[in-house]
């Protein structure tokens, strides 16, 4: 387990559970928040700090801090602050308690097994700081043996200088089909695809035929030479080879990742772009939309609706978990799903990091 999160005041940050219908709100579980739980929060702050010109690219020079939010009259915390500091500079953001719902779900699991909570029973959770519990603070390295030593290195993040205004002028926004009904969240971090990368992404996602298949986006992290704002350029999509491809899942193997990195290395040398990196993924939900209880895929309004919202182009829990595992430390990373709607038309959704969650976003296509 990764280290527990301790606040600036030296206390341990915990998620606490109570039963939903308990007026006394007796605590039924306490789960320490760990560094792996705030990974997306810290990654996002780093990207914001980079764009603001406050934080640098060398993570070894940046320290991480968590501060409890205001304590409310009922003793619960109003969220927490995550902060990165580099020298005298710092950048911090406030996050609500809801951003740690996965910690609450982790705490609830043993309660379900023990019969204290029913499966799918609603519960309440909130944040609290408590004195550090030594039982929670087992260092990951302790598990490697008493004499183990660990030294973490970070691949240097190289930002390619460019003009964001020129990129914006040379591109147009592309929104997913669902945005006709519900606007995707506006993003500060601009994301540019070359037409080739976009088409290759779809190709990699559809290559599996009736099975799911995937590709990895390769690109560069750019920085506007005037404003220092950071943005991403996606140059190509590499097919994920050696993966297990099934109707409802694609599982990259160790050889898949090795092959992707091998091809990335070749690109870096041939194109003289040592700063190219993996910046996201694309995969296909190539199965049809499920039929309803009556065996119908299309709804009654199908002939009249401008947009078909019966679609399988949506991120699953597995998709999100995979992305968080692969792209920890890469807040610019995106993932794209190509699916179908009930009309058997192409449908897609693109996701990016915002508010420590992966949410739908648009992109810009370079002409």
């Amino acid at each position: 387990m990764s280290q527990v999160v301790t606040t600036e005041s030296g206390e341990q940050l915990n998620v606490v559970l109570t039963k939903h219908d308990d007026p006394q709100q007796q605590i039924i579980a306490r789960e320490p928040v760990r560094m792996s739980d705030v990974g997306l929060h810290l990654d996002e702050i780093w990207l914001k700090g980079l764009s603001a010109g406050v934080l640098g690219t060398d993570l070894s020079r940046i320290s991480r801090h968590v501060t409890a939010g205001k304590t409310r009259p009922d003793g619960k915390l109003g969220g927490f602050f995550a902060e990165l500091r580099e020298g005298r500079e710092s950048f911090r953001s406030h996050y609500p308690s809801e951003s740690l719902i996965e910690v609450a779900q982790r705490a609830a699991q043993p309660l379900v097994s023990a019969g204290i909570l029913e499966q799918n029973e609603v519960f309440r959770y909130f944040l609290q700081t408590l004195p550090i519990d030594e039982a929670d603070t087992a260092d990951a390295t302790n598990l490697l043996g008493a004499g183990a030593r660990v030294k973490t290195k970070h691949e240097a993040l190289i930002l390619e200088q460019a003009s964001l205004s020129e990129y914006l002028a040379a591109s147009r926004e592309l929104c997913d089909p669902a945005s006709a009904i519900e606007k995707s969240t506006p993003f500060e971090h601009e994301l540019f695809f070359t037409r080739e990368a976009w088409d290759q992404g779809r190709e990699a996602a559809r290559r599996g035929g009736e099975n799911e298949s995937a590709g990895m986006f390769i690109g560069r992290i750019m920085q506007d030479s005037e404003t220092r704002k950071v943005f991403t350029r996606v140059d190509c999509c590499i097919e994920v080879e050696h993966a297990t491809e099934e109707q409802y899942a694609v599982t990259p193997t160790g050889d898949s990742y090795a092959r992707t990195n091998e091809l990335l290395g070749i690109r870096r040398r041939r194109l003289n772009r040592p700063h190219e990196r993996i910046v996201g993924s694309a995969h296909g939900h190539n199965f049809g939309v499920s039929a309803d209880a009556d065996g119908n895929r299309r709804c009654e309004s199908c002939d009249l609706a401008a947009y078909c919202n019966r679609t399988n182009a949506a991120a699953s829990t597995a998709d999100i978990d995979w992305h968080k595992t692969v792209f920890r430390g890469a807040p610019w990373a995106t993932f794209l799903i190509w699916g179908y709607n009930a009309r058997e038309e192409d449908d897609w959704k693109l996701y990016g990091l915002k508010g420590a969650s992966l949410v739908r976003r648009s992109l810009r296509i370079l002409d």
Binding site: R34, L144, V150, A249, Y257, D321, T325, V326, G329
Partner: protein, 99 residues
């Protein structure tokens, strides 16, 4: 260094171990030394994931990049790797997909 681990062993066990481990995007690299060679590859993978602060609800495996093969989860790492110089990749045992 010895361990009470019940890991399977395949031949002599190198102990302790020194190696380098990275995530699948190779953007973060960790140097380990003095690691108990009697730990299973599965235990080591879990520890590396914790060090890299990766999600804990995902199981992980290790790939020996020098030999281009996955380590056996239930076998001691010291019987699968040399004492020094190995380069490992931490591979999530997870998939993309609808389910």
């Amino acid at each position: 260094m010895s361990s009470n681990s019940t890991a399977l062993q395949e031949g002599p066990v190198a102990d302790p171990l020194a190696f380098t481990a990275t995530d699948v995007t190779t953007s973060r690299v960790v140097d380990f030394s003095g690691v108990d060679g009697y730990r299973t590859a599965s235990e080591l993978a879990t520890s590396i994931a914790a060090t890299l602060e990766l999600p804990e609800n995902t199981p992980y495996a290790l790939r020996d990049n020098n030999r281009g093969r996955m380590l056996r989860d239930d076998v001691s790492v010291g019987s699968q790797l040399p004492a020094e110089g190995s380069e490992l990749t931490l591979v999530p045992k997870s998939h993309l997909g609808q389910h």
